[in-house]
Symmetry: C2
Subunit: 358 residues, 2 copies
Amino acid sequence: MTTPKPPATEQPTLRREAAPTIRDVARLADVSIGTVSKALNANGRLSAETRSKVIRVAAEIGYRPNDLAQSLHRSKSMTVGIISNDSFGRFTLPIVEALEQQLADEGIAIFMCNATDDPARERQHIDQLLGKRIDGLVVTSRRADERSPVGPLPAGLPVIYVYSQPADHAALSLVPDDEGGARLAIQHLIDGGRRRIAHITGPERFEAVRLRHRGYANALSEAGLKARASDYLSGAWSEQWGREAVAKLFDGKAQVPDGLFCGNDQIGRGAIDALRERGIAVPESVAVVGFDNWNIMTEAARPPLSSVDMNLSALGREAGRMLIAMIDGERAAGTRRLPCTLIVRESSHPVTRQPGQL
Amino acid sequence: MTTPKPPATEQPTLRREAAPTIRDVARLADVSIGTVSKALNANGRLSAETRSKVIRVAAEIGYRPNDLAQSLHRSKSMTVGIISNDSFGRFTLPIVEALEQQLADEGIAIFMCNATDDPARERQHIDQLLGKRIDGLVVTSRRADERSPVGPLPAGLPVIYVYSQPADHAALSLVPDDEGGARLAIQHLIDGGRRRIAHITGPERFEAVRLRHRGYANALSEAGLKARASDYLSGAWSEQWGREAVAKLFDGKAQVPDGLFCGNDQIGRGAIDALRERGIAVPESVAVVGFDNWNIMTEAARPPLSSVDMNLSALGREAGRMLIAMIDGERAAGTRRLPCTLIVRESSHPVTRQPGQL
DNA sequence: TTGAAAGCGCTAACAA
DNA sequence: TTGTTAGCGCTTTCAA
């Protein structure tokens, strides 16, 4: 006999089963929905018996409250957005990582958005994030320079720029203290007995280049040393530029530097390579310090390269802390510069005495 | 006279204004909520007049539908999670970037989670993501090897492992075709006239090492060339190992290779450095090819290093495509290997003729 | 063409 | 101690 009803239209696709709801728990535990809520959120007073029964049933069927529904009610989504106007890279990464950890501990999830230098994409992402009712926004960048502020954003939405600064300085911005980092490097070189220190760095359109140069110049003059104009070389952020700059400083020169402060580790590594190829001993004749503490570079250099660490993880952690505070209602604005740290490796060991010796 | 009611408790904190709701639009446009919904979603039939009025009002007050509420209704959150059991690094990044772009185009946002080798943190993240009712999950890793599957996950939740494989092979996994990539490199070296090709690579506990070695060995034997056991050197993924391996292969040897296939670009660069320091011309005497096409390494090498590109962006894009398909109900499982590409640079230019010449 | 209302899953205030 | 219910903001069906 023929089937009276049409055959069930069986999908070849896997139908995703609906997640259990609080209603399911209530039915199975034979209590009301309100009771389940109380039991699971441990708020109202409830008999221990009922509570444990509800908890058991919930665990059995793998019940997990729907955050979407909760958020709708609490008008707090427990999510934040992080948007990069440049793709996530070497600098952004440690920041995001630390930030993520910090926020995860508070139960806040992160939406990751990348708008590679495309304002339209950025706008689109912001829109989407606002639709998702994020509780806060973090803006990062590949370089710490100023950028046009994101927006427009609803008033009161906590926003933090990390490794990035809004041109209008209206929001909180967390960046490394480049100038202080440079000072650390120079002070260290001076302490190691170096007296003529050159600075090989990147393009001057980078604020970091200007700030590090300032730190270099100030630290030198405070130590009574001269910062000669010819000892400052601005070029590309590359190993090749490091090598070229060494050629400029050393080839056919009677007076040469005994210390090199490089604007990043690639330049530093190029410089070390160039010095070695000239038979100039590092650190005996010339000490070299880089910037970024990018271990791929610092540890592959021969000898390993001392470098200034921007403590980007700390920057990320601080961003997380601040964002949480701001979500709780605190206000903050302006640029905050967090300290760098010097990591000493062989390339800048003192010439006169072993490290640790008097 | 004293104020009868207590002074308004003014918070020093910025109170975030509630976002406008559909109700606000309805009130201001003097229509019903249902009408607003119809007008904005362009579905039901409506007078053009009403529609445009609603749209205008919505724009004026900056109304943006609350995705949370929408999701609650549609039981689709338009979000996916991406979780890395290792922090997001050099390999994961291009994948995530491409994936993000792919999904953003569909209006899907990404939750980024990092559980650095901590199963408890991973579990916690998964929990959170399930609470947020993600529509899909992507698992990535710093290396493409097998890992214990994430979970338990609700049946039917689309899951893709990218640059990572679940040990149980129950889910879809997208990884680069390491073996094919190695073949490309070897074929290229052979085409360039090289006859004795050594393979310097990383630790054998990496599946990639074993697969690339297989590709190397097979490509050689298919070309009628011998893969000598002594020409296969497994060590660390470092420049230093590249240099050491060259010492082993060349120092005091009568018979030396004329081609070097390196397991990654750091090894390749170390090898090039070591060859140059021995006065062995690259590519004239020895051609070198690396793996990863990490431009920091390939372009800083002297000469620039040819390298196999794993097309991680393509991997990410494909993951995005597949994830969307799976969210739409498609099923997929098993390991899928995507092709690599060879990027030729000076380090492997043919010795007998200029490239492009017959 | 428009409005009213149920319901998505949850919380919290109030009633029993 | 437990149950009932309004409502978070939205979509959609049904009625007007």
